[in-house]
Subunit: 379 residues, 2 copies
C-alpha cells in the first residue's frame, strides 16, 4: 500500500564508470567519466517504468531519502519522490544523478585529470546541456532503459528535459518541464555574468587553480550564491519572509547585519561555500547561458520541437520572476505549433522560482495526476 508521506528510506549512491570517451560540444572529449547515481523503486520487467530526474544548478544525485538513519536532511526533492508521493516509487523506478561537471562525486573540476594526476580545476571542459543529456543516455543504456516513462526536471533540469525530448525523441515518452525557459533572457545572463565575475575576480581564484594553492575563492562564491538567491525568491516572498524592517528600532550606522534579509543572504552564501565548488559553479552558469535549442535548429524553437515526439507537461509558477510563466508559455506555444501534445499548468505561488522545490498542493496535485496516467500506461 502507498504511504502518502512515505520515504524511500536509507539509500546508497552508486558510482557508474564509463570508459568509452565522451565527445563534447566544445570539441574536446572526456576519455573516462563517472556519474554518481541514486535510484528509488524497482525497474519493471519491461524496463518501461523508469523516470529520470534532472537536477538544477546546485542539485545532485541525492534527490530523496536519507544517507543514514539519523540524517537531519533528506534529498533535495524528498517531498515529491517516494512511495505514494507524486513521483511514486511504488510505481516508478526513479533515477537521479549528479551531472557531469558537478562536485558531488561525478567527474568534474574537482576530479583528477588522468593526464596530469592533478585535479582538473579550470581545465575541466565547459559543458552544454546536450553534453549532459548524452552522458545521461549512456547511463540509461547501462541501466537497460531504452525509453524513459518520463524525464522530469525544474529550472536548469527542465532544460535537460527539453534537450532529451529533442535529441533522443524515441527515448522519452513524457517530458515534464518545470519552472524553466526555452533559453536564458539577457537579464538571466547578466545575473550569471556578475556571479562569474565575482568568482573570477576573487584573488583566491588563481585562474581556477585555487585547490593547488590550498584556498577557495570563498568571497566570490559567496557573492554568487547571494545573488542567485535574489532570483530564486519573489519580491513579495522576501517582503513576507523578512520585511524591510530593521532588526533593532533604530539604524546601527555600520555595515553589520541590520535587516533580516542581510542575515539570510550572508548565511546562504557562507553555507554554499562550504559545500560547493567554484569551478563547477562557473561551468553550470555557462551551461545555462549556452542552452538555446532554437539556435541549434536554425533559429526556430518550433523547428527544434518538431524533432520531439514526447508528450509534454509544462509547469510554471505565478511568482517566479527568474523563469516567469511567460517563458513557459513560449515553450508551450512552440510545442503546440510543432504539433506536440502538451499540458500546461500555471501554479498560484508566492515564493518565486524556488517554488518548484516546494510541496504546493496544486503543484503536487498536477504532477500526481499526470504521472498516475503515465504509470497506468506502463502498468
Amino acid at each position: 500500500m502507498s504511504n502518502q508521506t512515505g520515504s524511500v528510506g536509507v539509500v546508497t549512491p552508486q558510482r557508474f564508470v564509463f570508459e568509452q570517451p565522451l565527445q563534447l560540444d566544445c570539441g574536446r572529449s572526456l576519455p573516462h567519466y563517472e556519474l554518481m547515481v541514486e535510484t528509488y523503486g524497482r525497474l519493471n520487467a519491461q524496463a518501461s517504468n523508469a523516470v529520470l530526474i534532472c537536477h538544477a544548478l546546485s542539485g545532485d544525485h541525492h534527490a530523496a531519502g536519507l544517507h543514514a538513519p539519523d540524517d537531519k536532511k533528506p534529498g533535495w526533492w524528498d517531498n515529491c519522490i517516494g512511495p505514494g508521493k507524486p513521483i511514486d516509487t511504488d510505481r516508478f523506478f526513479v533515477v537521479a544523478l549528479n551531472n557531469l561537471g558537478g562536485c558531488k562525486g561525478s567527474t568534474g573540476p574537482t576530479s583528477l585529470n588522468p593526464e596530469t594526476g592533478l585535479p582538473y580545476g579550470p581545465d575541466f571542459p565547459l559543458l552544454t546541456v546536450s553534453d549532459w543529456v548524452r552522458s545521461q543516455a549512456r547511463l540509461a543504456d547501462r541501466l537497460g532503459i531504452r525509453q524513459w516513462a518520463a524525464v522530469i526536471g525544474g529550472s536548469l533540469g527542465g532544460m535537460q528535459v527539453q534537450q532529451w525530448s529533442i535529441e533522443f525523441p524515441q527515448r522519452v515518452r513524457h517530458a515534464v518541464v518545470i519552472a524553466s525557459a526555452p533559453e536564458l533572457s539577457a537579464q538571466n545572463i547578466a545575473f550569471n555574468e556578475i556571479a562569474r565575475q565575482a568568482i573570477l575576480s576573487d584573488p583566491d581564484f588563481h585562474g581556477g587553480h585555487y585547490a593547488a594553492k590550498g584556498v577557495v575563492p570563498s568571497r566570490g562564491l559567496k557573492l554568487a550564491r547571494m545573488l542567485g538567491h535574489i532570483t530564486y525568491l519573489s519580491d513579495e516572498a522576501m517582503r513576507a519572509k523578512f520585511g524591510a524592517e530593521l532588526k533593532s528600532a533604530t539604524p546601527a550606522f555600520n555595515f553589520d547585519v541590520e535587516f533580516e534579509v542581510e542575515s539570510y543572504l550572508r548565511h546562504q552564501g557562507q553555507s554554499f561555500v562550504d559545500r560547493f565548488d567554484a569551478n563547477t559553479y562557473l561551468l553550470m552558469t555557462k551551461a545555462l547561458d549556452y542552452f538555446d535549442p532554437a539556435r541549434d535548429a536554425g533559429g526556430s524553437l518550433l523547428a527544434a520541437y518538431r524533432k520531439a515526439s514526447a508528450r509534454f507537461l509544462v509547469i510554471a509558477f505565478s511568482s517566479d520572476w527568474r523563469f516567469s510563466p511567460a517563458r513557459s508559455r513560449e515553450i508551450v506555444r512552440a510545442l503546440v505549433a510543432a504539433g506536440r501534445e502538451v499540458s500546461y499548468a500555471l501554479i498560484d505561488s508566492q515564493l518565486g522560482h524556488d517554488d518548484f522545490l516546494m510541496p504546493i498542493a496544486q503543484y503536487h496535485g498536477v504532477l500526481r495526476a499526470y504521472l498516475q496516467r503515465v504509470a497506468e500506461e506502463v502498468a
Copy 2:
C-alpha cells in the same frame, strides 16, 4: 523666447562652505562641510521661483549644461533642465548639488578629516536622507530661498523630496516624486547588501582605508555597479538592447565576453570604478536602506504625510521593477489618505528604472504641464 531644446550653456560649479556644525542622525556631527552646487536660471526678486533638484545614487551637482564648450557630455539631466525644457530655466532658478557624503566635491569620505588631516575614508559618518535634507535646507538659507517652488527628484532623489515635504512642510510648495518608493523592499535591500559585500570583501578595500594604501577596491565596486545596472533596466529592455544571442555563431567555451550584455556590464562596471568612490557608494546604499518615513512616524506612512503641506506630483514608469508603479501607488494612497493634494502619472515605458532619466514625450509632457502651472503661481 524659449528655445525648446535650449541648453543652459557653460556652467561653473560653486562651492558653499558651512562652518556651523551639522548634527547627524547617527549621533555624530560634522564640524564643517562643503557642498558643490550648480544653479541655472535667475532667482526672482521674491525668491519664489527656486527649484531644487535632488540626485540619485550616483548623481551629482552637474545636472545640466557643460563645464567647457567642448565637453562631450552635458549634465546628467540636461534633457529636462534648460530654457524651454520641462524644468524651464527661463522661469525657474534651478539648484542642483552634490549631496553630503558624495565624491564629486562635496564633503564626503574622500575629503580631509580636519581632526586627522587625512581623508575620512570609512570614518566619514553614515548619513540618512534626513541628514541630506537638513544640509540642503542650509543651502536654501544661504541662497535666500525660504520656500522652494518645487523640490524634484527621481529614485533616491524622490526620497529626498518626500523627506523635504515631511520635515520642512512650509518650505516646499510642490513635491515631485519620480520613480521612487516609500521605503526599500527586502529585495531592494538584498541587492544593496550584495553590492556592499562585494566592496567590503574586496581585499583592496582595507576596511575602507584603501586610499592610504594607494589602491581602490575596483573589483568590488565594479561588481556593485554591474549589479545596480541589472536593476536599472527591465528584462524586456535588456532583451531589446542585447538579446540573448551569442556574439559569434557558436559558444567560445571560455569566460571571455560571449554575449552583448556581458560586454555592456563589464564596461559599465569599469567606467564607474574610474569615477566613483567606494566609501561613498556604501554610504549611499545605506541611506537608501534607512529611508523609512513611516518608521519615523510610528509605523504609519499616512501619519508621516500628514505633516506635509506641499502639493504632490508622483510619477512612475510601467517598466520599472526596481521601484515599481506599485510602490508609487503606495505613496499616492498614503498622500490621499493624509488629505494631501496629489497628481499621479504612470508613464508607459520600456527601459526600466532608468527611464526617469530619459526624454520620454509622455513623461516630459506631464512634467512640463505641471511645472508650467507652478511657474504661473510665482509669475
